[in-house]
Amino acid sequence: MELNDLINHTSEWLKGTGPNSEIIISSRIRLARNLAKHPFSHRAKKPGQEEVLRSVEAGLADCHALKAALFLKLADLDEVDKQFLIERHLMSRDHALGDDHKGLAISDREIISVMINEEDHLRMQALQSGFNLRQAWQILDALDDELAAKVEYAFSNEWGYLTACPTNTGTGLRASVMAHLPALVMTKQINKVLQAIAKLGLTARGFYGEGTEAVGNFFQISNQVALGHSEDELIENLERIIRQVIEHEQNARDAMSRQDRMRLSDRIGRAFGTLQSAYIISSNETVDLLSSVRLGVDMDIVKDIDRSAVNELFILIQPAHLQKLEGKKLSSAERDVKRATLIRSKLIGNSHP
């Protein structure tokens, strides 16, 4: 597998399947791990970073789940490649900054990705479609066990896995879901829900994680505490709260459908119409409109279009993806034209709602 092959496949987490996939797009587990004694990435000199990269890569290459994996060195990638990987949620924005001995491993179907020499020596994640944290945890737990036999992790019996930032110390675990909550936004209940989430010790962030804004009514909700509870407890706690968020969103959708279906259909229909008719469109406008279309698909107002096709569009219309599809660099204005063309080709032929 090569980097450029990724674009021809839909990532597993965009399949639009799995439990509650009408509201929960995807579930993610990430673990932060470091090697004992080696200075953490931000404090390591180049030879030290190189040594970590080499020993971690060697350990990972031997792991069952990464047998067919793609191993990349960030130093070999150009800006578009890096942006492309961020857009696919395979690595963080931070990982793209400075390329000294940073690595990335991506498993078959993009279920697992491992960043090497990010804030911690290892940041590994497993992504699943729908509300499926358990499955993601099982996958990552197994990889973690396998790797623990090959490298010596920084670990203390008292405090667990030792990480660069004390907010991750303990399990090093962050569990998160990407929730699509348009009805809570439309009915202006979202702030209440987000405040409640914060009070329960969880955080809500935008589409691309930490420090990003919520576009297209997508919210990434995750645990904040990593120490003092087992991995299962942390995941269970998140699950319990997410189940309530799902219920609130579902209730809001039902209420809108009962009381104001005409207005809702109008909004969704106009969004669909604009996407089918535009010749120039920005990514922010696209994401907002796609959010409405996605709601239309979930509520059976838009027919004849597949949920995974809408999901895939959210990623394909991003700047680096457009440039990969075109095979060359595009200016912002050129991208807006290319984006509109791509959307028309994917949506025309589908009947108006």
Binding site: S156, E158, P166, L227, G228, S230
Partner: protein, 168 residues
């Protein structure tokens, strides 16, 4: 019931906080509660927490560690305060006491209960379970005000912890 903070208003808000089995109750009037509420909210969110780390660090540093350096990576507590990141796994031993306070504030706990990279046989090391048991007995002794027993248990715990550190 009167308010615990201003000792004047009628307490209408009752907060119960449980940290590591220790329960504290706070009875507040509406005015004090809204102030306390504002304080609590300002501590939510990871960004806030990280921004707040600097302050924690400052407060902690005056308690000990001024000038202390990690023998493995040469990080000082001052460095940590600036960047909010530790230098290596050994920093956790060097700055043990300050970090214990910090971890407690961030996570509400200082005991790892998750998985371990060791083989299953060593998953709950004997020293750790013995310590946990002793600490539980100590708390019991304090609760029933048996201070002689408590003092004896405290010394045992201290000895065990020192042994552990020497080994580590």
């Amino acid at each position: 019931m009167t308010c615990d903070v201003c000792k004047q208003g009628q307490a209408t808000v009752h907060l119960t906080e449980i940290v590591d089995d220790q329960m504290t109750e706070l009875h507040l009037c509406e005015e004090c509660a809204s102030q306390k509420g504002a304080q609590m909210e300002s501590h939510f969110g990871l960004a806030d927490l990280l921004a707040g780390l600097a302050d924690f660090g400052k407060q902690l540093e005056t308690e000990e560690v001024a000038g202390q350096k990690c023998a493995n990576c040469a990080l000082t507590f001052e460095d940590f305060r600036k960047v909010g990141r530790l230098g290596c796994s050994e920093c956790y031993t060097t700055f043990h006491r300050s970090l214990a306070t910090l971890l407690k504030r961030i996570h509400g706990s200082t005991h790892h209960l998750g998985k371990s990279p060791m083989k299953t046989a060593t998953r709950t090391p004997k020293v750790k379970s013995e310590l946990v048991e002793l600490k539980r007995k100590l708390q019991e002794a304090i609760d029933v005000e048996e201070f002689e027993t408590a003092a004896r248990l405290r010394d045992q715990i201290r000895e065990l912890e020192q042994n552990k550190h020497r080994k580590a």
